[in-house]
């Protein structure tokens, strides 16, 4: 197991290198001069030379690539021309928002998708099966941004003045200001220390922060705000998970050992949940892992629709402002994150199915 993990880690190095090279190359290929894009079309040559020199843009491309890799190895993803802030700082501010949204979406999609798939498989060819499959097929075919807008319309306008009314944008209502949990707990942290950055990162996830600081008002408000974007973002993975759960369960339920278990007189629920589900889990884990990439991509759309200031929204703003740093930095971080996630999914196989020998 250890040697397998080690080998997989080593094998992912070329891929990481490729990611860095690809993003570096992409950023250099962007048409238009970064200096003029940043300082305006009227910037003089002297000003531009100074600008290029300051940002290292006057060095040979290979040297720039070397500098770039060295910086990333030190956790420095460059700086945003537009916000004149380090990308790392921007990421620390924005990532928690995207994390929280993705996690809630994933949670919803698992909690709804798996039971739906199991029920559909157990009640194969019943109306509930047909409906689930219809819903799943529509779910994978819906544009995320359309679903988001329609949900916003339905829950904030059609259901206006009912208990089900939900806010169509933002993360918190105006006037609701959450206190970071570490301040509530009375911790005295020095700014810029590692512990502070970490606590700050956590405290930016509104729901987690509200739970930690036991502020139920904020928790309710944050949960109401995250509900619609999370549903919009989670629908595709939910549909994929439900479909895969159903087909995987159908396959397992047809096996002889299931019939044996039933013949022994074990009750149906136990057979389905313990004997069948556990064995159907592997493909479900695979698609769940794979849909994480879709979540990260979908975050750009969802955050744009619901006006959430996460990484996705920022990426979009970076594109429209031609801010190389942001596009490059965020793409790298998300790709690295994605590689790590895929590794974790692979490792989880070993746990879920001991028959898989990793070495």
């Amino acid at each position: 197991m250890t040697s397998y993990i080690f080998r997989r880690l080593v094998l992912s190095i070329p891929v990481l290198f490729g990611i860095l090279f690809a993003t570096f190359a992409l950023a250099r290929l962007i048409p238009g001069d970064p200096c003029r894009a940043m300082l305006g079309e009227k910037a003089t040559k002297v000003v531009c030379d100074e600008f290029n020199h300051r940002h290292g843009l006057d060095k040979p491309v290979l040297v720039q690539f070397g500098v770039y890799i060295n910086e990333i190895a030190h956790g420095d993803f460059g700086s945003s021309f537009r916000y004149s802030k380090p990308i790392t700082a921007l990421l620390m501010e924005r990532l928690p928002i995207t994390f929280e949204l993705s996690l809630v979406s994933l949670l919803i999609s698992i909690l709804v998708g798996i039971p739906l798939g199991v029920i559909a498989a157990v009640r194969h060819n019943s109306w509930i099966d047909v409906l689930t499959m219809l819903w799943a097929n529509m779910g994978v075919s819906m544009p995320v941004f359309w679903l988001g807008l329609m949900l916003a319309y339905f829950f904030s306008l059609t259901l206006k003045d009912t208990p089900f009314q939900l806010p169509p944008s933002g993360r918190l209502s105006a006037g609701v200001i959450p206190l970071p949990f570490f301040e509530v707990w009375g911790w005295n942290l020095t700014p810029d220390s590692f512990l502070f950055s970490f606590a700050d990162f956590i405290s930016r996830m509104n729901i987690l922060n509200a739970v930690l600081s036991q502020d139920w008002e904020v928790l309710k408000d944050a949960a109401q705000h995250i509900f619609l974007p999370a549903i919009a973002l989670g629908t595709i993975p939910m549909a994929i998970i439900a479909r895969m759960t159903r087909s995987s369960m159908l396959e397992v339920l047809g096996q002889d050992y299931i019939r044996t278990a039933r013949a022994k007189g074990l009750n149906r629920v136990k057979v389905v949940l313990k004997h069948a589900f556990r064995n159907a889990l592997l493909p479900i884990a695979t698609v769940t892992g794979l849909s994480l990439g879709g979540l990260l991509g979908g975050a750009v759309l969802t955050e744009t629709v619901f006006n959430l200031s996460g990484v996705g929204r920022m990426m979009y703003d970076g594109i429209t402002a031609r801010d190389y740093g942001i596009v490059q930095g965020f793409t790298v971080v998300i790709a690295i994150f994605f590689v790590v996630l895929n590794l974790l999914v692979d490792f989880s196989y070993a746990y879920l199915d001991p028959r898989i020998r990793l070495d």
């Binding site: 070329p14 891929v15 490729g18 990611i19 090279f21 690809a22 993003t23 992409l26 290929l29 962007i30 048409p31 194969h124 060819n125 499959m133 097929n137 529509m138 994978v140 075919s141 819906m142 544009p143 995320v144 941004f145 359309w146 679903l147 807008l149 329609m150 916003a152 319309y153 904030s156 306008l157 169509p168 479909r243 159903r246 087909s247 159908l250 396959e251 047809g254 990439g293 879709g294 990260l296 991509g297 979908g298 750009v300 759309l301 744009t304 629709v305 990426m315 979009y316 594109i319 429209t320 031609r322 596009v327 793409t331 998300i334 790709a335 994605f338 590689v339």
Partner: protein
Amino acid sequence: MTAESAPLKKLDAEALSLDSVSLWQITRRRLLRRKSSILGIIILAVLILIALTAEWAAPYSPTLSMLDTKGYPKEYAKKRAEPCIHLLGCPADQPQHIMGLDGNIRDEFSRLLYGARLSLIIGFATVSFAIVVGTVLGALGGYFGGWVDNVIMRAMDVLLAFPSLLLAIAIVTVLGPGLINALIAIGIVSIPAYARVVRASVLSVREMDYVSATRALGGNTYEILFKRILPNALTPLIVQGTLGIASAILDAAALSFLGLGAQPPTPEWGSMLGAERNQVFTAPHLVFYPGFMIMITVLAFNLLGDGLRDALDPRLAHVS
């Protein structure tokens, strides 16, 4: 096993019977046995019909404002006017707009019809591009192996390491916004899927006896690769391609929605929706219809793709 094995047995009997039945005939029969595949085919047929007849079916121009349309009563040319359907009680002297007018006073219904043409072209164009490039890369890698294979497949790994929509966004940023660039970006992003499918098929038949026989008979690389090996990759490619069209249309709509794909006044569903997204509370019809059309189109390809996969791969027939 379950109820499905009965028709399956019958099918196998058909396949083995003395009247020769081609793979395509079996596939067609299996495909038409599923209600969902039939639904997909019907939706697709309607969409193709719409795309082909948009000129005649559309009551107005897709790009011309009602203010510039000859003989149109100006008092009704209002921005984002609600749908007016004569059958549903809209006054007969008011011009009919089944889906209302958009923010630039154009007929939404006409734009929607032309959009079908665009979306289908987008789907087929990107997937064709990806299949051609992916097939060449996968075939080269699988056939020659060694460093060629290594270089190609590692490059594919890098492409796969990005969430596809994000990579497409990054590529369009480099190429500049526009429909063609969006298509290229989505095409590039989808290459690895096809390259992998083809490479796997090539690897599995490369050492087969009939390939060796062709080589012994003096067949050149071209003949072996294109006439002996690649036809085996055809069925997985068809399945992958049909499902690929669905995701290509979805991604293209997303890029257009973000303003990176089709530019106004092109009647592309994603960009139509993106242009009116801030008006969702005042003119929901302008958001609903384009998105609904995207969903229906993608759904049709997904249903057809799933049906084809099950029809072409009988081992999977009892699942899903």
